[in-house]
């Protein structure tokens, strides 16, 4: 299959006036929800699922693609103008970008974020075009055992690597898998966890679960802790950059992209590690290291590019393998299933035109974002002034409407409230939300692969490792699981090192809770925080006097949903 001609066909589909309109709607909607606190792209896609069912699948996915990239862009606007990162991947933007804004350079910060996002998004999408078919070629040769192993790896990696506490991640995963079990078993027709309720027999609708966890849980949680003093929003005009700013931005954009894409494409890469890496690199390479922590443009350009490139990278496993690694991709995967499209390696073969139109619309969406958002930045800034009672009442209103319109039964609203309360509890006690959603979505598919695998081996357990790739993947799984134990042993073996690692490791925990002295006590299993947190610490070291963003890092590894 000739990639270029397929891509051109994709452009031909995506550039029809109707689809262009959906791309524009998606981009505007995505940016708006990215800017607004409390809602994010995953929830928006989930809410729009019932509405989108009346559309052509292609148009629906073109709109979703716009929401996906738009949400990323909107998030950076908020962190620059408010100094409170909505998601962990824009922590850095909040530090450096908000400094710039306070120094009167908000226009330049927004411009470098927007143009950097465009550059990184476009390069990232181009890389997606190059790499995804290669991954697909590799993936179609995989049998059930390997596929099962890869899905297990994705699930465990997201649970174990992202987030501050592995234990709490696994607890969340378990809850998600349990929710995924509800309903009639597809092979034997037995009812599982339905408690004799006929309404539960079809399983819990993924739209209802996603909306409950993301929207209702979030709205209730914010309502419980609503900030009564209005946040200070920095006014901004039209973003622009001077010659000097361009000179200082273009290299960080490219380096950020190079960091972001591979991490995004990995099962548990996420966007936050590359943004930290990019920040540290830029600081080291900059001719003006003294400006870092006081508003260096490189510190916005690099991490923002890394963030967007990671978003593009995430789509590689999503489209090639049917493996989502962030919340928005997970809900988009659920959308495929709702449209009756089977995600996985065969997606390109079976739904080629749709996938290529989706990819083409990523290029288009990126360009639209740049064209639309540079002039609209002051409007987005105004959106931040929306009175909070209306915002959160509106979230609840549309969440209810979206969940109800799936099946038109009030019972779904009861589920919505119960699972929403669960979402509230998870936010209160630091259980990450992403493993739960992935558990709900991937759980049934993993079970299917497991049963297929053992069916092929006639019940022989060794069938699970009958393919060399499966064996390789299990070794990686083992490493992911055992790594923190090894790390612990290594620290014990070299006590001198502990003194150095200790405070850095404790950095974000101690830092984020100056008001709560108890926070010094170890959070769950602290070694795991070493990855992102240690880097976090490094970043903080560089700018101790700068007041850190108000948000804690509890939502490590999570994005605003």
């Amino acid at each position: 299959m000739d990639i270029l001609s397929s891509l051109m066909d994709g452009f031909a589909t995506a550039l029809t006036p109707m689809n262009l309109l959906y791309a524009l709607i998606g981009v505007l909607l995505g940016t708006a929800v990215g800017v607004l606190p409390g809602i994010g792209p995953a929830m928006t896609v989930a809410l729009l699922l019932p509405v989108a069912m009346v559309l052509e699948p292609t148009s629906a996915f073109i709109m979703f693609a716009g929401i996906y990239y738009g949400g990323m862009y909107g998030g950076s606007t908020t962190s620059i103008l408010l100094n409170t990162p909505g998601e962990s991947s824009s922590v850095i933007t909040a530090i450096e970008g908000n400094r710039m804004a306070k120094a009167g350079r908000a226009a330049q910060a927004l411009a470098t974020a927007a143009i950097g996002s465009f550059v990184a998004g476009t390069i990232g999408t181009a890389l997606l075009v190059v790499f995804t078919p290669i991954v697909v070629d590799f993936a179609v040769s995989l049998g059930s055992p390997s596929y099962f192993a890869i899905m297990v790896l994705a699930l465990l990696a997201v649970t174990a690597v992202l987030g501050a506490s592995r234990l709490r991640g696994f607890a969340s995963l378990g809850l998600g898998l349990a929710i995924g079990l509800v309903g009639i078993d597809s092979v034997t027709g037995q009812r599982r966890l339905t408690f004799g309720q006929p309404l539960l027999a079809d399983g819990l609708d993924i739209v209802v679960i996603a909306v409950a966890i993301f929207a209702v849980g979030e709205a209730l949680w914010v309502a419980a802790h609503l900030r009564r003093t209005p946040l200070q929003i920095i006014p901004v005009g039209r973003p622009w950059m001077g010659k000097q700013d361009w000179k200082r931005s273009w290299k960080p954009w490219l380096r950020g992209t190079a960091f972001g894409f591979p991490f995004g494409a990995l099962p548990a890469g996420g966007a936050e590690i590359p943004t930290f890496l990019s920040y540290v690199t830029e600081k080291r390479l900059s001719k003006h290291p003294e400006e870092f922590g006081k508003g260096a443009i490189e510190g916005v350009a690099g991490p923002e590019a890394a963030n967007n490139a990671a978003a593009a990278g995430t789509l590689t496993p999503m489209l090639a393998l049917g493996l989502p690694t962030n919340a928005t991709a997970a809900v988009m995967l659920a959308a495929f299933t709702q449209f009756g499209i089977q995600p996985g390696p065969l997606l390109f073969e079976n739904e080629g035109p749709l996938v290529w139109a989706l990819i083409a619309s990523l290029f288009i969406g990126n360009t639209l974002l740049l064209l639309v958002n540079l002039p609209l930045a002051p409007v987005w800034a105004k959106l931040l002034r929306l009175p909070r009672p209306y915002l959160y009442a509106g979230i609840l209103f549309f969440a209810t409407l979206g969940a109800y319109s799936v099946n038109l039964q009030a019972f779904d609203l009861v589920i919505l409230l119960v699972v929403g309360a669960l979402g509230f509890m998870m936010r209160r006690f630091g259980l990450p939300v992403l493993p739960l959603i992935l558990g709900v979505i991937l759980g049934p598919r993993i079970e299917g692969q497991l049963r297929k695998t053992l069916q092929l081996s006639a019940g022989d357990v060794s069938g699970l490792w009958s393919e060399p790739i499966a064996v390789g993947v299990y070794i990686i799984v083992a490493l992911v699981l055992v790594w923190p134990l090894l790390f612990k042993a290594w620290r014990r073996a070299r006590p001198a090192r502990v003194a150095v690692v200790g405070p850095v490791n404790g950095g974000p925990i101690a830092d984020s809770s100056a008001a709560r002295p108890t926070a010094e006590s170890p959070t769950a299993d602290s070694p795991t925080t070493a990855g992102p947190a240690a880097r976090d610490g490094q970043v903080r070291d560089g700018q101790e006097n700068a007041d850190a963003p108000k948000a804690t890092h509890a939502n490590h590894g999570q994005e605003k949903s």
Partner: protein, 167 residues
């Protein structure tokens, strides 16, 4: 280590462990109830995965309880509009949940336009707005717009309820 009571104080997170444990037990009990004749075409059967999931939940429950008792705690999630310095404000949450439940009870009988208005108006009130008339008008407008938008635009007929025939 003093009395049990003082050790339990401030450990509301143990409730999470209890919930996980209950969920795990539920999944295991439900799985045990399934009867599955061995079949060549499905050696795994519908029981295996629930057993694994139930066990995972139970293990997490125990480990979390131990972790909490030893002083660990999860970090509450932060965000743009969240101020963690004050405790959970139940005087906001409970009316909010009340508006939500009112909507559930009303939606099929009174219809979406009425129940949606109640939901939005009640939520805005719970969240602290006191512009009764303006909020009411906004709520009614939203409910009407979504009702007709869904009906005309998407072909989804939300329940008209008491206003059947008028709308």
């Amino acid at each position: 280590m003093t009395s049990l009571a003082s050790r339990l104080k401030g450990r509301s997170e143990l409730g999470v462990a209890a919930l996980l444990g209950a969920a795990g037990a539920l999944v295991l009990l439900d799985a045990a109830r399934l009867v599955t004749p061995y079949s060549q075409s499905d050696p795994v059967g519908p029981k295996t995965v629930p057993l694994i999931v139930g066990a995972l939940l139970l293990v997490c429950a125990v480990l979390l309880a131990v972790n909490v008792l030893r002083g660990g705690h999860g970090e509450a999630e932060a965000g743009e509009d969240i101020d963690l310095t004050h405790p959970a404000d139940w005087r906001t949450i409970l009316p909010l949940a009340g508006a939500f439940i009112a909507n559930i009870l009303l939606i099929d009988w009174a219809g979406w336009v009425i129940s949606g208005t109640v939901l939005f108006w009640g939520s805005v009130w719970a969240l602290g707005s006191r512009h009764y008339v303006r909020d009411g008008l906004i709520a009614l407008a939203l409910a009407l717009l979504t009702f007709y938008g869904f009906y005309l635009g998407l072909g989804i007929a939300l329940p008209a309820g008491l206003l059947e025939g008028i709308l």
